[in-house]
């Protein structure tokens, strides 16, 4: 009798716990990353990264917002298109390391948004058509993307290798020509190995999780300083570090 009582209590507790977990998961849970990127480039060292970049800068993020989607005509898809949301980041260049150009630049990257729009209105530019729900099976299909607006980073999926930018952050960026969005040319980072967050005191946080063959490039810069990366780059012909006035 005692054993059965104990098992009964255990079953009740576990049942309640299980039901609670399911309820929390259903009402408050969010899906994991919905986009999986296969990067075009994978530079293994600083020479390769530098060769891929047209411009290398140290820059501060002025703002980040959702830009026009990349759109491909796909007549059989809902809405007749395949669309990939884009984040467009405006940065102020503080230091040129390779190449030269405008002091204010725009960088774009693929992005995946979840949740509802919060706060500020949508950025100016062409308004994409409202997504059409797909032909459904039984069940409650939920679209993975939400229409245009400006989002705080908390409502974003984090794409591995392409986390959202936030105003005020500083980065070292290896840049090349990016896609044209809404008639505007943008830059793009060569790969996750071309983006390094500059923290307090010059502490670097590389974005890439992928192994690097160079001790002062890519993921090997984690825990190191901006001086390490600058020193490594200055070994490469054509690199000249100069502040932008």
């Amino acid at each position: 009798m005692k054993l059965n009582t104990a098992l009964g209590i255990a079953a009740a507790v576990l049942g309640a716990t299980f039901a609670g977990q399911v309820a929390v998961s259903y009402f408050f849970g969010k899906p994991g990353p919905t986009h999986f990127v296969s990067w075009r480039h994978y530079p293994k060292n600083a020479q390769e990264g530098t060769a891929l970049a047209k411009r290398i800068v140290e820059a501060r993020v002025l703002n980040s917002q959702r830009g026009p989607d990349l759109v491909l005509q796909a007549p059989g898809e809902p809405g007749g298109v395949d669309r990939i949301p884009q984040e467009v980041v405006t940065l102020q260049v503080e230091t040129d390391i390779k190449g030269a150009g405008p002091g204010r630049i725009e960088v774009s990257q693929a992005a995946a948004f979840i949740g509802s729009p919060i706060g500020r209105p949508a950025p100016s530019g062409p308004t994409p058509p409202k997504p059409v729900a797909p032909d459904g099976r039984s069940g409650r299909d939920r679209p993975a993307q939400v229409p245009q607006a400006t989002y705080p980073s908390a409502s974003r999926h984090v794409l591995e290798g392409a986390p959202p930018y936030q105003a005020g952050e500083r980065y070292v960026l290896f840049l090349t020509d990016g896609p044209t969005l809404g008639g505007r040319s943008t830059h793009t980072v060569i790969s996750p190995e071309g983006r390094y967050h500059i923290g307090a005191g010059g502490a670097l946080q590389p974005v890439s999780p992928r192994p690097s063959a160079d001790e002062n490039f890519g993921t090997n810069l984690r825990g190191k300083n901006l001086t390490n990366l600058r020193g490594r780059l200055q070994q490469i012909p054509g690199i000249q570090i100069r502040p932008v006035r």
Partner: protein, 186 residues
Amino acid sequence: MRKRAITAALGVLVLVLLAGNFKVASAHQWWAWHWGVGLWHFWERPSKNLGVWVYGSYSTESNTALNDWKSRLSGIFTFTSYGSHTDVSLFAGNYGATDWGGLASIENYDYDWWHWWCWCKITHAHARTNTYWWTGTGLQGVQCQEFGHTLGLDHSNTGDCMGKTYYNTINVTSSHNRTDISSMYP
């Protein structure tokens, strides 16, 4: 006798509930993404079959990648080709000078009530390659990888297309992919 039966039943119930409070991860899986097919979803889609629509530029290379997966998963998973919108869209197009060469996306999903208890059941997915960067067998390899992502597979260093651009330059599947899919979809 009756008490023993009750004890046994309660014991089984406790074990089941204990197991239900944990989630089991599969090898090389992309987060918890999976299709609602097979054993755990036998009342909705007992057959492990997905519809695939191949369209756009370089459809020959896309179909070659799809046929590779069909052959690799023969007997454990099937794919039916359609000429219209279905479970998976496999396509290529020129997206311009993006930083990515391939991109897989979960376009629609639902709550899995019977297996993972999360918003992780795929109901529609896209596998796409940017022809600005890839053509020929390289495109086939990227499509091979992106299609694997739509099945719920992560990148992996297993000597096949799921490691392309990360670990190797291989454009085809391997026996490891079959093992992973078998474990994800019993």
